[in-house]
């Protein structure tokens, strides 16, 4: 059965060389405008015609696709609409849980209007280069301007990531290594690719690998020669990925090996089956060799390509049944600016945005995502997921079969689902409020104090040693103990531990003042704890969280930058020009209070789901127990004077949540870590403010007594 190339869009048939693309996501506010827009653009759509004669590619590369809602709005009748497969009728938002799009990848967080029922159509343009794309975009905009009832919900521009000599993603992996060929297209598959597949696997109305022609949605003219497409947009956290490699490998060669093990190919594209110990760029670039391998005979135990690596999951080759009924055709590219090697994570969104084409979403695309990417027991593995596109809400391990050592991949490029998620402005505000909170509170401490004020109260050596014991040994020990005792989820345990390790909160001064406790001691204690925290966390955290990818260098760097430097600047200004320091402080102090409230509000609002789940767990209980035990320890060790007892009690219980937030934000992608820290912050307020009040009352009999004396 020959392919009706004149009626098939070129999109899945061939891949013209394109360095730029634009995806447009459309809504038809007025059905007649939608129909008119479509009638005019049909002529621009690239078809397979021309591919058979001489192999030149149709220069019009526009592709058009519709959602089920789009077909409905355009006027397809209900009887016809009901003949489409259920997974297409439901749409991807309804299928999110099946695809693993939960937590950070939940449809609520998809951007660009892609989770909206108002998404009706996609217009996809691939172009030779950026100027050609811009020309086509202009042309389309002029054309579309005639139809105000056709609205662009969003657009996404894609550009190839340099170097441009071969296609690769932002992580540096060579792409487009393995792609099924379609029977009847006359393309000879490269060795290892397998025989060309029957067109019915990708186009409706043709025999599939079973020799059957599947049911055609009605009317046939709409579905015949068409395909189903799934759209995925995956953000790549390049800085985090590089940190992950560095944290798990001692040398650059080892980093490359780990990158290769996660993928199943070296970043050059050379397959690990054929190049198990050393990269081989020549092999990578040779299409006659770079796909020519199997797993069953050449690597049955996963010693070269780990059983759970990306390419082994997405195309198990000879080790899966019915493999030819599960194949998909991928089209897509990279978006966002490249992150130069060595540059720190810049918070700019970048990633891959790709289409998956097939004849049955449920049998091909959803199967790959649901069973191959997210089946924790794939190939008898325990609790693993695809390291790149799997769901990592709670962090799944990844194992290399040879060494039997687990490396955690909970931070690798979480997919942002069919499209992304938390809006950039929200991220910016949140990031900014944490920074403002940390910097302003330490700066205002410095501005208000002299070095002598800090050092003098610390002459009592025994008290200082006991304070350090309480803050840096006992507090983290309690955090770890509670985590184990209550069986807290891992991210909550990490949050509690971060808080446990971070001492010296500026808020202690407010609490000590409220409690009418020994203020000079509070000042000295707070500054010493804060300074030690900066040096202590980067050293101790990696020891306590073995296997987790924490980066001591970046923790130290950000704590020094955000805490020590503002503190030192504040102290210096105070020493050099006290009235100036006072003026600056009058401005900085309110910033500290406001930004602290912002952190609490934004964390609560931004992670409401996680917050609720913590309400249901033991998170709040453990936070409360933690704060109370810390109070008790401080009280016991802070004697003999009641004044100093009160300070150490408050000073041990009031943890430096600012420092904990900085470390959490940089090293743990699971929002629950940040949420747990915020929970401890809120619980601390709830427990320590009344406690400070109570401590102040203990002092009151003295005041009342003197008052009475005066009256007398």
């Amino acid at each position: 059965m020959t392919l009706e190339l004149n009626d098939i869009q070129h999109f899945l048939l061939t891949r013209p060389r394109a360095l730029a693309a634009r995806y447009g996501f459309l809504r038809f506010r007025q059905p007649d405008h939608g129909r008119a827009w479509l009638a005019g653009i049909v002529d621009r759509v690239g078809r397979g015609r021309g591919l058979d004669s001489g192999g030149t590619v149709d220069s019009r590369w526009v592709t058009v696709a519709f959602t089920w809602n789009g077909l409905r709005v355009l006027g397809v009748d209900d009887a016809s609409l009901s003949t489409f497969p259920e997974e297409f009728r439901q749409g991807m938002t309804e299928r999110a849980a099946i695809l693993g799009d939960t937590g950070a990848n939940h449809p609520d967080r998809w951007v660009g209007g892609l989770a909206s029922p108002d998404l009706h159509a996609l217009v996809i343009l691939f172009a030779r280069d950026v100027p050609e794309r811009e020309r086509c975009v202009q042309e389309h905009q002029q054309y579309a301007a005639q139809f105000p009832g056709v609205e662009a919900l969003s657009t996404l521009d894609l550009e190839a990531t340099p170097p441009l000599d071969y296609a690769h993603d932002h992580f540096g992996y060579r792409d487009r290594m393995s792609q099924p060929e379609i029977e009847g297209m006359g393309v000879e598959p490269t060795p290892g690719t397998g025989a060309p597949l029957k067109p019915g696997e990708f186009f409706l109305g043709y025999p599939d690998e079973n020799g059957d022609i599947g049911p055609l949605p009605q009317p046939e003219i709409l579905s015949r020669n068409g395909s189903f497409l799934a759209y995925r947009r995956m953000e790549e956290h390049v800085g985090a990925f590089r940190d992950f490699l560095r944290a798990n490998a001692a040398t650059p060669d080892e980093q490359e090996l780990i990158a290769a093990k996660l993928m199943g190919r070296w970043r050059s594209g050379a397959p690990l089956v054929l190049a198990p110990t050393k990269d081989d760029p020549q092999l990578a670039a040779d299409p006659q060799r770079n796909n020519n391998f199997d797993y069953g005979k050449m690597d049955p135990h996963g010693y070269a390509v780990p059983l759970g690596s990306h390419i082994r999951r997405m195309n198990p080759r000879d080790t899966a049944v019915n493999i030819n009924r599960r194949r998909i055709i991928r089209r897509g590219g990279t978006y966002g600016p490249p992150l130069p090697e060595g540059a720190a994570e810049d918070g700019v969104e970048r990633g891959i945005a790709a289409f998956v084409g097939c004849a049955s979403l449920i049998r091909q695309y959803e199967f790959a995502q649901n069973v191959w990417a997210n089946d924790p027991r794939f190939h008898e593995l325990g609790n693993e997921r695809d390291p790149f596109i799997g769901t990592h809400d709670s962090g799944a391990p990844f194992s290399r079969q040879r060494r039997r050592d687990d490396i955690r991949v909970d931070r690798l490029g979480p997919t942002r689902g069919i499209a992304n998620t938390m809006s950039l402005t929200e991220l910016l505000i949140k990031g900014a409020s944490v920074v403002a909170f940390v910097v302003s509170s330490t700066l205002s401490v410095g501005l208000g104090l002299t070095v002598r004020q800090i050092l003098e109260p610390l002459s009592n050596g025994r008290l200082v040693v006991l304070s350090l014991l309480a803050n840096f040994v006992l507090a983290p020990a309690i955090a770890i103990g509670l985590t184990r005792l209550l069986g807290l989820e891992e991210p909550l345990g990490i949050g509690l531990l971060l808080v446990g390790l971070a001492g010296g909160a500026p808020f202690l001064l407010k609490l000590a003042d409220l409690a009418k406790a020994d203020m000079p001691f509070a000042v000295g204690l707070m500054v010493v704890l804060m300074v030690i925290t900066v040096g202590y966390m980067p050293i101790v955290l990696p020891l306590l969280l073995q296997g987790a990818s924490v980066n001591p260098g970046s923790i130290a760097r950000s704590l020094i930058l955000l805490m020590l430097i503002p503190l030192a600047l504040g102290l210096a200004l105070r020493a050099w020009h006290p009235p100036g320091a006072a003026r600056v402080r009058a401005f900085v102090a309110p910033v500290s209070s406001v930004s602290m409230v912002c952190v609490v509000v934004l964390t609560t609002a931004g992670h409401f789901g996680s917050m609720l789940s913590i309400l249901g767990s033991l998170g709040i209980v453990s936070a409360a127990i933690f704060v109370v035990i810390c109070c008790a320890i401080g009280w016991m060790l802070g004697g003999p004077a009641t004044d100093t007892r009160g300070v150490l009690s408050l000073g041990t219980a009031q943890r430096n949540t600012a420092a904990a937030l900085v470390v959490a934000g940089q090293n743990f992608s699971d929002a629950k870590v940040v949420v747990m820290i915020t929970v401890v912050m809120i619980v601390s307020f709830a427990v320590l403010m009344p406690l400070a009040g109570a401590l102040a009352k203990r002092q009151q009999p003295r005041d009342v007594g003197s008052g009475a004396a005066a009256t007398r």
């Binding site: 299928r95 849980a97 099946i98 079973n210 008898e380 325990g382």
Partner: protein, 188 residues
Amino acid sequence: MSNAANSNDWTKPAAKAIPKEGYFALEQGRYGPTYPRTPACHGFTIIAKIKPGTETDIRAYGKRIEDTIAASPHALAPLQLHYLRWVLFDIGPDTYFMYQGIFDTDFDKYTEDAIQLFKATGVDTVFEKLDGFPMDWKTNAPAFITFVREHQCPSFLEYGEYPYVSAAEIKKALAMKDAFSSMLDQMQ
């Protein structure tokens, strides 16, 4: 290798009571709710009324499948089965067919693979003798799977003497035992 999901100790027999709907928490799979893995692995119990007068045909399938497996013992390997039990029984004037399978893949993947196998081996499925079965099953997998799901009767108790162990793991252990015995023999 980390084995969090397999951390259940095979030496400790386990039983699990299952709610009426067949799952503990509703988790959507591709074709409907996902059924959990129990100490007795994955599995299903399909019970459906047969078309009158087809009992002899259905019983004949028993012999046919025996012969198929004798000729190619690994014909059903893709299904990752432990055991199959096919039963016919009467309720009043009607006869019912029960298809009970214990396997290691999930429910939907088992059914998809089974449809594929029935087609590949050219066996008309025994299901065609069942009341209400979609006769276009060869080109309409979703309809087949819907039928299976509609006739599935979830267990309310499942027990495993060696819980959560897959057929692949059992076969590996037995192969090891054979290899070890033969090693001891060779050393005599």
